[in-house]
Structure formats: C-alpha cells, structure tokens
Symmetry: C2
Subunit: 416 residues, 2 copies
Amino acid sequence: MKGNIVVGQSGGPTAVINASVAGVYRRAKRLGVKKVYGMIHGIEGFLQGRLCDLDEYLGEAVRVELLKRTPSAVLGTCRYKLPEAEGHEEIYEKIFAVMEEYGIECLFYAGGNDSMDTVKQLSNYAREHGREQRFIGIPKTVDNDLPITDHCPGYGSAAKYIAATIKEIVRDNESYGLGKPHVNIVETMGRNTGWLAASAALAKGEDCSGVDAIYLPETVFDPEDFMGKIEDLATKKKSIVVTISEGLSMADGRFACELGNAGSGVDAFGHRRLAGAAITLAQMVEDRTGLKTRGIEFSVLQRAASHIVSLTDVTESYQCGVDAVNAAQEGRTGVMVTLVRSGNHPYRCGTSIHDIHAVANEVRFVPKEWIGEDGCSMKEEFIEYARPLIVGELQPIYVDGLPHHLVIRELMEKHA
Amino acid sequence: MKGNIVVGQSGGPTAVINASVAGVYRRAKRLGVKKVYGMIHGIEGFLQGRLCDLDEYLGEAVRVELLKRTPSAVLGTCRYKLPEAEGHEEIYEKIFAVMEEYGIECLFYAGGNDSMDTVKQLSNYAREHGREQRFIGIPKTVDNDLPITDHCPGYGSAAKYIAATIKEIVRDNESYGLGKPHVNIVETMGRNTGWLAASAALAKGEDCSGVDAIYLPETVFDPEDFMGKIEDLATKKKSIVVTISEGLSMADGRFACELGNAGSGVDAFGHRRLAGAAITLAQMVEDRTGLKTRGIEFSVLQRAASHIVSLTDVTESYQCGVDAVNAAQEGRTGVMVTLVRSGNHPYRCGTSIHDIHAVANEVRFVPKEWIGEDGCSMKEEFIEYARPLIVGELQPIYVDGLPHHLVIRELMEKHA
C-alpha cells in the first residue's frame, strides 16, 4: 500500500476488540504503511474529523501488549448506522473527503452486523462513484451471530467469562446444602441468539455439576414449563442454577422480562422497566414456590472482562486484524475477514476473506440440532464447537493490584 | 496436641476461606496431629455427625494448591446460630459427644460475627462444665466488619474483584462518548457497612477516571441529593458510574431498594421484592432524567471470584489457619486470630490472638473521617488502608479453559 490507513471500532464493545486494532497496526507497519490512524468513536467520530495517530500509542511493543489486555473499544465506539447513500450523498462525500485529507487508502472497521453494513455501503459507494479507497470489515461481536465466519472474535472470551463465573456461582450455591433448595437464575446477553447463554454449558465438568437448564431465544419460552422445571428440580436438588438469555420471548411475542410485576416492559407512566428477565423470573419463582431465589445479570461484565480473556480469542482477534491488512495489500475491498475452522483435535483455525454482501444484516442462530430434546439443554455438538474457543489464558499486566489498560488521550472526557 | 482436630466454615462464603482450611490442615499435619477432620456444612452438619477426613483430599501438595484456588466454602457452610446454652444443653452436649467420638481436642471455626459467637458460646460452655476441648475462631468475611482485626480475610479479594470490574465497566461506559450521557449504578454487598462499596475507589488511577460517587450505609441516604448529584454530573460528563452499597438506608429507616415501583420491599401480596437498590435507583434516574441508565448488581460474584483473588489475601487467610493451630498448640481457647498491620511502605502484617468475647457480635464501620465531606467519596486514608490488601495475584489452575476447583465428595448433592 502506498497510502495511509484508518481503523475504527463500532457497536457493543468486547474484551478483545482491541487486539484487532493491534493486529492492523502491527501488520501495516511491517508493510511500511506510513500512518495508521484510529478513528475516535467509529464512523460517527470520523465524520467529525476525529482521528488519532496510532504511532503515538503503539510505537513501543509493550504498549501493543497492554492494548491486547485492554477491554472495550480503546478508540471509542458508536451506534451510528450509515444511511443508504441515495439522498445522503453529503455524508458519504464527507467520509471520502476526510479520507483524502489524511491520505487514507483503506478503512478497516471492526464490528457486528450494523458495522458490516457500513463497510458494504461504503465499498458500494466507492465502486459506483469510481473511488479508489477500499473498505474492509473485521468481525467482532460477543453475540457470535455473524454468518459465514465459524465464530466471531469476542465470543470466546465472553463465553469463558460466563462459564468460569457460572462455576463460581454453582460453588457458592452448593455450599448451602441444608434446608430448602436455593435457586439462582442467571441472565446472559443475547437478544436474538442464544450463543452466550449456551456457553454456560461449558461449566460442567469433573469438578462442577454445571447448570440445571439453559433457555435460549431460539426456543419459544413457556413460563409454565419453566416453573414446572424449577419445581421438579426442587424435589431432587438443594442447589438449582439456571441460565437464561436476555432475549427469551414467549408465544405471544412478549419478552420474558415483560412478565409479572417487577419486569413489565413499561410501567403505568410509560417508563421503560429496567429489571431484566432474571430478576423478573426470580420474582415469579420465589412468589410461586417460596424458595429463596436470586436473579443475577451479567450485564456488561461479560463483554468487558479482559481480566479473564481466552488466549485463543485474543490471538484470533489479532489475526483478523493482520489478515484484514493482508487483504487490503492484495487490493481487496468490500470484504470481511472470516474464521475458518479445519479441526478440533487439535483445534485448528485459519482465516479467509468473504464478500461483505453475504455477511451484512444476516443473523446466525444456534442450530436447532445442538439444542437438547427438552429445549433447555445443550448437546455435545455445541460443547465440541465452543470448548476450543475458550482455551488459553493471557495474564493481565497488573499495577497496584489491578489490571492495567491502555488509554487514548483523544478519547478522554475533555475531548468529548 | 495429642488429639485430633476439626475445622469448619460458616456464614457467607468468600473466595479465600478455603485457604484457612489449607493452613489449618498443613500446620496441624506438620505438628503431628493424627486426624484433621472437616465438618460438612459447619456446626449444623457437625451436629448431624457429618465429617470428612481431610487426608483423603489434601494429602498431596498439589491438592492444597488447588484448594487455595477454590471459591466458596469447600466443606459447605450454614447459617445456623447456636442458641444460648441455658435451656439448650442437649445441643451443646451433642457437639461435645461428636468431638469425643472422633477424639477431637480442638475445633476451628472460620466465619464472621455469628460464627465467632458460636466459638464464644462453645468455649464458655466448656469452661463452665469443666470440659477440656478447645475452640478457636478464624476471621472470614467479605464485609470486613469484624472488630479488633485490622481487616478480614476475604475482603481483599472481594475488593480486588470490585475495583477491577469497575475499571472494566468504566471503560465500557466511556467508549460511548457521543450523544447523551450514559449512567451506570453499580451495587456491592454490605448491608450495614460500606467497606465493599468503598473499594470501588481503588479503581481510579492513571489509566482510569474511577467512579463519580460512592454511597455507603454509614451515611444517611437522601434520594434527592443523589438525584441532584447525577443531574449535576450529567451536565459535565458523558460517562457516569456510581457505586452504592446494598444497605443504603434513608432518614425514615427504609432501605433505598424500597423506593419507587420496581423495588418496594414487599409487593401488594406481601411478596419480597427481588430488585435491589441499583435497579431501583437506576429506574428512578432514568424516569427523572431520561438518560440511558443501567443498574448492575455484583451479587455473589464479588465473594466467589476466585479467578481474580488477591495474593495478599490468600496468604493471610492461609496464615490465619496456621496461627489458629499454633494458638491451639499453646493451649489457647476462646480466642480468634487477628491480623495486625505494622506498616504500609512496604506493607507488613502479622497475626495475633485475641479474646473472642471482644469480637463476637461487634460490628466495625468505615471510619467517618475516611469519608469525604460530600458524603459520597473516599479520602486518601481509605486508599492507604485498602490498596495493600488487593495486591498480588494467584493464577488459577486452568483445565479446558476454566479455573479448576477441589471438590469434597461428602458435600455432593447425593449426600445432602
């Protein structure tokens, strides 16, 4: 490449999205790219001309290591969805103008479905208007719901956090073995797909009895079946731990969090209710059974826990950044890097490049055949798929007892 | 010691309470004690004659290392409070009968205030009835609210988890720097004392702007002041993160979680409401300000997160077990091991032995002079106190991508 490049991050952060930035930076520098810019707050910030020079932050190797251990989008993120070009040409022209101003030949964008749509729109526009700038997508989402790619960077670390934390919750709950059963209902992210909730199945092993049931959005949620399941478990066990996905929805289309008093989506004044599905269902269980019940929501912890990332995930996230630059070097545009698995024993996974049009706006669900006949358990096929993704550790760099992170000055409050 | 010993765990589990069991076991074996028993589910299980032989589990050194990395009470816990001896002599006689049956000379009990009361009652009873058995307490509580001891084993690791996770939450929240401010309200444990909530102050450093306010139960909670604080912050910052203690109470004596719709303590049917203070206050903030607000509750995660323990805490917990045995060896009874700090630069801390009567049922609060004039910040004196307690790491033993734990067969479901 003769020109400069820019890399940006978009959508919900993950614990390893920064490793992709590290991969882009290191590979580009190796190839002799003069300037590698970071866009501050994604394409929305880029439209305002907000960029930083990554040499300033990543010039020393130890800072690249620190970046790999820094959670959330180090460059800032946005939830901006680029509108269709027709009728919004001025937005597109502004983006190309900023690229020209900074001599940017290729734009790399790490994100999920919406972000890949941005890459698609921009590469389409360039082609249709005879522009030479190139656009390449890097997959990133804890939700693991992008199509084509075997899995998404970010998912393995979120799954590792969930499974490790579930083990700790099960231990905590099992320590109370006398008296009535204790029920824990644990909620993961996943509005449309159950990849994160399913990862709770990884907790089971010779040292952990695992969770008693897992409810995914891929299966219609029946509150009465759910109550029956808990009541049945309570006749057999002292410790009950169930995992649910935030996006559970019922036959009538309502979300589970809209059930009952504590969680109706909107209150009498039309205010959005903040108690999620776990609290709502825990309330229902406690009211109906009288059992001590706790709702636990992993909230943003599951996507931000860089202190317990999967080394496999970090490495693949980094590699996706590297291979995005390699694709740009080969002149590609309008593509996304994908992960391609070739084996599990041992786990082997490489990358490929795929047309962005097949990726953008498509959602991949947990295959029905990986869900148990009871609708609330995961089959061995899922474990086989997910286990390798959580393997390996990358120890944080601790300072004064806490994991240390890299900070980009341009992102700090005063610049916002 | 000529006889055998038994060690038990009681009250809410912590991430390092098992290190005390390891310390008791290793020191006793070194002193030639023949049998070291574990009581299953504390004194309540002991009354049912439920014991295990720790040789079976801890005979190999690597298993002691595994135990140090196992969260929650490995022997099981209970919430049983021993009644006064008068009128309940049969309970006391039963305990002494089990001790005699197993040739137990000394009973070690790791726990918080209630557990120390048990040690006090049993040692009093022995003295009053001319029994020779001895009883020694080992401090343990994430709440850090035992008197006399400088701090409690368990607190340092919970504080480390809280501060590390707060850093990740702040990073996640700050990554959204465009548009309206985002508010996160994070709830820690601590019904009566604010030691855990205060530990959020440790997150602040050169790589983290820290939390914007901390509310402790030591200060009367005024919802209007709280709202004013958030509204003021929202005029200055895009990312607002506030930490609250679960036990915040207002001038009228109600808990903060009893405010508003989502969190009234009891609903119209007299059911306990499960939404805690964070969800309740987040609801209030979102309703009043229209800002995107999230309530995050650390729940049992903060006391069970053995994957990110403080090495200082693990070491001290182990040492408390060792020195409890040393005290028994010297013939002591009716005492608790305490931690005595002699310096901060460098941190130096030893142990001592203290009469249990001064400990049992007393609560230690966060000193008023460590809380900022605004009532919602921590002064440097607190940081100076708490920082050394979170320093150092003990890497888990990972198997198949997850921290591995030690399991006691007698505790398993089928034996319950």
